[in-house]
């Protein structure tokens, strides 16, 4: 890792996890380290940096550069310290006359084939080759100019056949083969850290070159996923961020948290002044352990994009153009409208949507705004449309909605069931950690209608792929339980001690019924009985079994039932309460866990406590000084229904684009259009803003302080690295609006908001910014009982006491295929784009994905006369749109798939308003559709585009 500017010590080789300790002597100093540690790392532990080039502590030792040679008393030769493990009593010398001479000789050879353009090289001051030349005292290169890799032409002007031009194809980094020392760090990072195997060394000896993909590929056309691990590992300027080439080296770094997915990677934002030079994953970050994906590392350009709105805006009607105004004017306009609505229609006629992209502190203030200032419980968040069934299902079975493990747990897993999640695209850094474990021998069971990458990719092959028909999750999960119970594979001791035995017997009787057997359900689910039986046996008896799941589980009419079924499986097999097991929801947005924790749901106050409980309300009432409504408020779909009906008139929507992300676009638009005051608080004029009357410009994660909570309940700090471009952090904007509405809030820093949260919420009682500074991050519950937080839940008992096994009857969705709509559409994400794409579409990530495409099986395409790349019309009972087709057998016949990243497609005009029975989480994953060839955009798309364009007009400043 190139950390010479901003030191973050590189120990050369990874830490050993051995318990046994070994003592040896290095340069006369005693050092005690775990067995298996390299001599290089042991030396680094006592502050001695042995010169090195091919070693870095994110990847295994390789022993190729021969610079880290040492002498060991009583052993022959000069072994490489990176590949030589410690042994008791060794006496090691890292510096003597012989070693110095050898190292200088090695460096001289390296430099003889390296351009000496250091002053103008982008890696100047940040180059390990440069540093090592200095460290070994290289003063002279005696070799005469000869065959080399770096000169374009030789002295006679002939083209140098060894010279390869720079590869600029990746939008974020360059590969300059002239500067390469063939240390293989990039190749190894791609294999070991990322797990993509896109890079290789081709040729041999002097002809060895780093190569992406096959012959003829460049970085962009290869399998490279642009995670940047190779760039980070490169010790020279060979692989270099384009931002560093353009700006120069950074001068300081600030630790912060990524604002993309629910993995919540820690990053060093490396700065020069207030300009962000690059993002480098922080190796002490406990979620990501030094790794990142293309979004987190590179796709931050949206924060400085020209589309960003920097001035508040208002308009009387959504048919008017926007008018830019001062913050004071915007607050006055917004508060007058809201007050007017409340006076006329009552306090229940307005509400809020909190953002799962904003900080905990910001979500807390927005829900507080509706509860304490508007005085109702009409608050909801985007978790409604993703993981609300997780909240319900795990709450019922375990007693808390949270995932049970930390991400480190995957390192101890033996069998993984992955249901309805596609981590290589949706949660890439977790996927890399999972793949690392799978390559070491863990088994994988994939339950997904689509052949996702993890089913079969480089050095990974799933043991079982249960390729089910969309909408039959409950039948599959219940059939797995049927096999586990009827074949006696369950963990009786765990069930007897940790669950209620009577409830188990009731449940066992239910699942044992032959109608739940895989033989009975295979006709319905499309999953072969023997395959399902084998998968059940593997999970029950294969060692530590962990279930990871995503929105393919929750976004169904029976989403909550599937979550309950998953919890049942974990309890039946005793896979709860220790490392390597558990039930792990992979959360969508960066702070969707946090926004739920902060009381964004309409029925519960922060910390998941129902508003009906007097004792809970009293705690808040005494601090807030107002009476809190004891009735649950409206959820997003209910708000829209109430709006259409005329009883819900005003909405403050922070950092959420419901018009694009929520199902049945036409219904959402009708609901928004029926309101008298829609306030959108966002970075951009998003789709929802087409129907807004007030626009508060938002601040990016780089511009404010706060905390995000990731999928493992880890509270990570977000740190301000530059001033908000529009003047205020989002929490300040919410506070100004609350003040305009009459509240007496006076927070001067987000840490005060966190102190209030800690005071009111038992599971956060021990959380403070001081603690986060001290520990880096902490997993809730964090309180007197667990002052350092809780990496693993339910160790000795479930939060609710006994775990509850609940019957999970399969009920088919009412969204059914028929002659008019014979195909099933399911939706998902792609690696380079994020959610509705508001951020990633405004970065160079569009080179990988600039439009949504429809994946369709060759058979379905042929019978419809659909050709690859052709525009097709996609129609459902709700609406129709058009997009290009991609013919692939990743989907089964009868199933089509698309993403929802682009507003021009508006895949959600197709999705219906069927939803989860318990939480109203929309059924995105199953829509009956028809596909037919088409010439281009539908009438609806054209109308939509025209309306959006008209509604985004901004009056020129006077």
């Amino acid at each position: 890792m190139k950390d010479f500017i901003i030191p973050d010590r590189d120990f050369g080789t990874p830490a050993s996890k051995a318990k046994e300790m070994v003592t040896l002597t290095i340069d006369g100093f005693d050092v005690t380290v775990p067995a298996g540690t390299s001599i290089m790392r042991a030396a680094a532990e006592i502050g001695i940096s042995v010169p090195k080039l091919c070693a870095t502590d994110s990847i295994d030792a390789f022993g190729s550069c021969r610079l880290c040679l040492v002498e060991i008393e009583g052993r022959a030769g000069t072994p490489a310290s990176c590949t030589t493990p410690v042994a008791p009593g060794l006496k090691v010398h890292t510096q003597n006359a012989k070693l110095k001479q050898l190292r200088r000789g090695v460096m001289e050879l390296y430099i003889s084939d390296h351009p000496l353009d250091c002053l103008t090289c982008a890696a100047n001051g940040d180059c390990e080759l440069q540093d090592m030349a200095g460290a070994v005292g290289l003063r002279d290169v005696r070799y005469e100019k000869g065959e080399n890799h770096f000169e374009v032409r030789n002295t006679s002007g002939e083209v140098n056949p060894n010279w390869i031009a720079k590869d600029d194809s990746n939008p974020y980094f360059t590969y300059d083969p002239a500067k390469c020392i063939v240390c293989s760090r990039c190749v190894r990072a791609c294999e070991e850290v990322q797990g993509t195997f896109a890079l290789t060394i081709e040729g041999r000896g002097f002809g060895s070159r780093v190569s992406a993909g096959m012959a003829g590929d460049n970085f962009l056309s290869s399998d490279c996923v642009s995670c940047g691990a190779c760039v980070q590992a490169c010790p020279t300027g060979t692989l270099q961020e384009k931002s560093v080439i353009e700006i120069g080296t950074p001068e300081r770094s600030v630790i912060t948290t990524c604002a993309y997915c629910g993995v919540g990677c820690s990053f060093k934002a490396e700065m020069r002044g207030d300009e962000l030079v690059r993002m480098v994953p922080y190796k002490h970050g406990k979620a990501n352990r030094g790794h990142s994906c293309v979004k987190g590392r590179f796709a931050y350009g949206y924060a400085a994009h020209k589309d960003r709105i920097l001035s508040p805006m208002i308009r009387d009607s959504i048919n008017d153009p926007w008018k830019e105004v001062s913050w004071a004017e915007a607050m006055e306009f917004a508060s007058n409208r809201m007050k007017g609505i409340i006076a006329k229609h009552g306090r229940h006629s307005v509400g809020v949507i909190t953002s799962s992209r904003c900080t905990n502190e910001e979500a807390y203030l927005v829900q507080k705004l509706t509860r304490a200032v508007f005085r109702n419980n009409n608050t909801d968040t985007c978790a409604r449309v993703c993981h609300s069934p997780t909240g319900y299902g795990l709450g019922q079975t375990f007693g808390t909605s949270a995932g049970t493990q930390d991400f480190d747990s995957v390192e101890e897993t033996d069998v993984v069931i992955l249901i309805g999640a596609n981590p290589t695209d949706g949660h890439p850094v977790f996927a890399s950690r999972l793949k690392k474990r799978l390559r070491k021998g863990a088994k994988l069971i994939v339950v997904d209608p689509r052949r996702i990458d993890l089913v079969d990719s480089a050095h990974i092959k799933a043991a079982h792929h249960l390729q089910l028909t969309p909408g039959t999750n409950v039948a599959v999960v219940t059939a797995l339980a049927h096999v586990i119970v009827t074949e006696g594979l369950f963990d009786e001791e765990f069930v007897r001690t940790r669950c209620d035995w009577d409830e188990f017997q009731d449940y066992a009787e239910f699942v044992s019924d032959p109608r739940h057997s895989p033989e009975a359900t295979q006709f319905l689910t499309g999953v072969k009985a023997d395959e399902l039986r084998a998968a059940a046996r593997l999970y029950a008896k294969g060692g530590n079994g962990a279930i990871y799941y995503g929105l393919g589980v929750t976004e169904h009419s029976q989403g909550s039932t599937t979550v309950i079924g998953i919890a049942n499986l974990a309890m039946l097999t005793g896979n709860i309460g220790r490392p390597g097991v558990g039930v792990n929801p992979l959360r969508g947005q960066n702070n969707v866990q946090g926004s739920c924790d902060m009381g964004s749901f309409p029925h519960e106050l922060p910390g998941y406590r129902h508003v009906k409980n007097d004792s809970v309300r009293e705690v808040f009432e005494s601090l807030w000084g107002v009476q809190i409504d004891n009735e649950p408020g409206l959820r997003i779909p209910n708000m829209l229904d109430a709006a259409v009906e005329g009883t819900f008139k005003g909405l403050y929507c922070q950092g959420e684009d419901i018009l694009q992300s929520d199902p049945d676009t036409k219904h959402v638009a009708a609901g928004l259009a029926a309101m008298d005051c829609v306030i959108v608080h966002d970075l951009f004029l998003n789709e929802t803003a087409n129907y807004a009357h007030v626009f508060f410009p938002g601040s990016s994660f780089l511009e404010k302080d706060g905390t995000f909570t990731n999928a493992e309940r880890r509270i990570n700090r977000v740190r301000k690295v530059m001033a908000p471009r529009q003047g205020y952090a989002d929490w300040e904007v919410t506070q100004m609006f609350a003040q305009a509405m009459g509240a007496n809030w006076a927070y001067t820093h987000p840490s005060q908001i966190m102190d209030e949260i800690a005071m009111l919420t038992p599971s956060f009682a021990g959380v403070s910014y001081e603690k986060l500074e001290e520990m880096g991050s902490v997993q809730w519950p964090c309180n007197e009982k667990a002052p350092e937080g809780t990496p693993l839940m339910h160790i000795d008992g479930f939060v609710r006491g006994k775990g509850k096994l609940i019957r999970t009857e399969y009920v088919a969705t009412d969204e059914k295929t028929g002659s008019r709509f014979p195909l099933l559409l399911t939706t998902g994400r792609i690696l380079s784009q994020y959610n509705v794409g508001a951020q990633t579409r405004r970065t160079d990530n569009v080179v990988w994905h600039d439009e949504d495409v429809l994946e369709i099986h060759p058979h379905d395409a042929e019978v419809r006369g659909v050709r690859d790349g052709q525009f097709v019309k996609l129609a459902s009972r709700s609406g129709e749109t058009s997009l290009r087709a991609k013919i692939t057998d990743r989907v089964s016949p009868g199933v089509v798939y698309t993403t929802f990243h682009h507003p021009t497609t508006q895949a959600n005009v197709i999705t219906t308003d069927f939803s989860d029975w318990a939480t109203n989480c929309p059924e995105y994953k199953v829509t009956a559709v028809q596909v037919s060839p088409s010439n281009g955009p539908t009438e609806w798309q054209e109308e939509y585009a025209a309306q959006a364009e008209a509604s985004r007009r901004i009056l020129a400043a006077e």
Binding site: G346, H348, H610, T647, E809
Partner: protein, 78 residues
């Protein structure tokens, strides 16, 4: 499924019912009532009772039974 509010709430109540119908009868009835009390805003419950009071057309029997213990919303206080 978009339509008038009554149709939608009947659909939602029946969906809840289908989950609880696999449970022992008393637990199922209690489960439906508790679920609606905990998660349905008073406006939704008001519409729900408009359906129940008009004879409960379209509601599954277990929902009708549960309606006995579903809280009637109190008149709105501003």
């Amino acid at each position: 499924m978009s339509g008038n509010p009554h149709e939608k709430l009947v659909y939602m109540a029946n969906q809840i019912s289908k989950f609880f119908e696999s449970k022992p009868h008393a637990e199922g009835v209690a489960g439906i009532a508790a679920h609606i009390n905990d998660f349905w805003e008073p406006r939704m419950r008001r519409h729900f009772f408009e359906v129940v009071d008009a004879g409960g057309a379209g509601l599954r029997p277990l929902v009708l039974e549960a309606a006995q213990t579903i809280k009637r919303p109190v008149a709105e206080t501003v």
